[in-house]
Symmetry: C2
Subunit: 321 residues, 2 copies
Amino acid sequence: MKNPIIGIDLSGGDHDPEGRLQAVKKFSKEQKNIDIRLYIDDQYLSNKQHLFAGLAKQITIISTDQAIFMDDSPLKALKKRKSCMSLAIKDVAEGRADVVLTAGNTAAMVAFAKHWLKPLCDIDRPALATLLPGTGKRTLLLDVGATLDYRADDLFNLARMGSAATQSLGLGVGQPEVALLNIGVENTKGNDAVQQANRLLESSELNYLGYIEGSSLFDGYADVVCCDGFVGNIALKACEGIAKLIKISSGKSRMGKLLGKFNAFNFNPSQYNGAMLLGLDGLIIKSHGNCDEFAFKQAIHQAVSSARTDIILNMKNTLGG
Amino acid sequence: MKNPIIGIDLSGGDHDPEGRLQAVKKFSKEQKNIDIRLYIDDQYLSNKQHLFAGLAKQITIISTDQAIFMDDSPLKALKKRKSCMSLAIKDVAEGRADVVLTAGNTAAMVAFAKHWLKPLCDIDRPALATLLPGTGKRTLLLDVGATLDYRADDLFNLARMGSAATQSLGLGVGQPEVALLNIGVENTKGNDAVQQANRLLESSELNYLGYIEGSSLFDGYADVVCCDGFVGNIALKACEGIAKLIKISSGKSRMGKLLGKFNAFNFNPSQYNGAMLLGLDGLIIKSHGNCDEFAFKQAIHQAVSSARTDIILNMKNTLGG
């Protein structure tokens, strides 16, 4: 797919949409051949009309008066069928957009995705997948927060899905190497779900390496690492926390200040914003709710480049075959 | 307790015990008034006699021919009652040592701790607790790997225990502030165990703040943060992984190299080595299995300073009252 149509849900998120809107404006100036469908709450649109003046012609605005809040339960959110998030995901389901990006309520996003989109082959629990930073081979970590309380067979399907996604993204040579995230690498380690999934994976046709510990996540040890969405989300956010602490600590020293000026600190979690929701017949990209303009722009790029790989079509071929 | 007797289990761990032995030797030169009971495998002792020549007189060697391996299941390990780990923990139970330090198999350590030591008051599941690095207030994170699959009432007891431990350590003013680690701060977020524990904690007498996300772990937001041992272990190790990546990435730039020379990079996970096993009537400190000499020496200091706070006695008073 050369130039995907991208749906961008500006509602929700932890902050006012202005930073995200600026990101859309900058992106549309740089990439004039990408059509954008922009979903926005009526009230914001009428209150901030000046921000929408002179919008590029490839941006179509869709506005609505139903808002989803960050603390809405999935059940409550699902009743708001005319919310930005619902309309945006429905547009992917019905072919009016090729990919949708949102910084809104994750649980609501998963609920609408399951409502409007068909499952991908035999996958019944979708997962959020993100490419981890690294100096060598990049690792795809999933699930980072779509589905909680994985059973062994869910973890097994997660590994199949991660392997298919990595192949589609052109990462890894041949059969992607898959590992399970655990508290130790020995066979006796871990909770019941992980130990049972380990046995299922050992007798599967996947290129399964066994367990991996949190400390090896950024070593490029495996192409794909699988874990429960609760664990993956907390681990990833803890990494953001420690990166922030290291930046603050280093910034306090004289050399750290100098380093900051030279911008040698080349790890910035915002740079990696944009996780793919996999396991459904349509592509959704989730931005960090707490994103700023830079981070949201990175997520827009992520949405476009993921759509360009035709990842859903390729995964369907791999998983269905 | 002024000068605790410390038991040090040199067996197990991910590497040969030599680095750990060097740490013991250096420590005993610096702190001549601390008696050490050193547990070591017979075979290592006879093969490496030269390393044990001229050992300080305050070090007593206890050797045995039963070895626990890193991949022994707890059940298999428990049969080795004459192993270093078993003897060391038994010595704490019977008053021959005030604290024991080990870098061995965590699950075996927990099994022996439950076997030889009485539970602390009504706590039935022990937890590993570690002080997180931070620039301001330090946070106690528990559980980082002793017990997996926490139910809601276990998480509630974990919060009680963490609050009591923090008071004993003299951290936090008055009633320690307690938070639950979750994937979001809204009430609707999280798995069932976390949501139920949240309700129990809201109606408790603890100074409960609610949920905290991984990204805020190092902000000094709470005095105590509670989570399942599976989640805590993976989050903590992922932080080690990203810290290593940042160090490597920065080291590659010219300014990063300069920074390295000035040692401004003041976050080193080894510095924080030594987690306390809490919930039993005896003090055990767990070193990272993958520790080097520096990290093990930090854990020895951690063991001595924890014993000096009389943490077990103080926790008994708080929890029992």
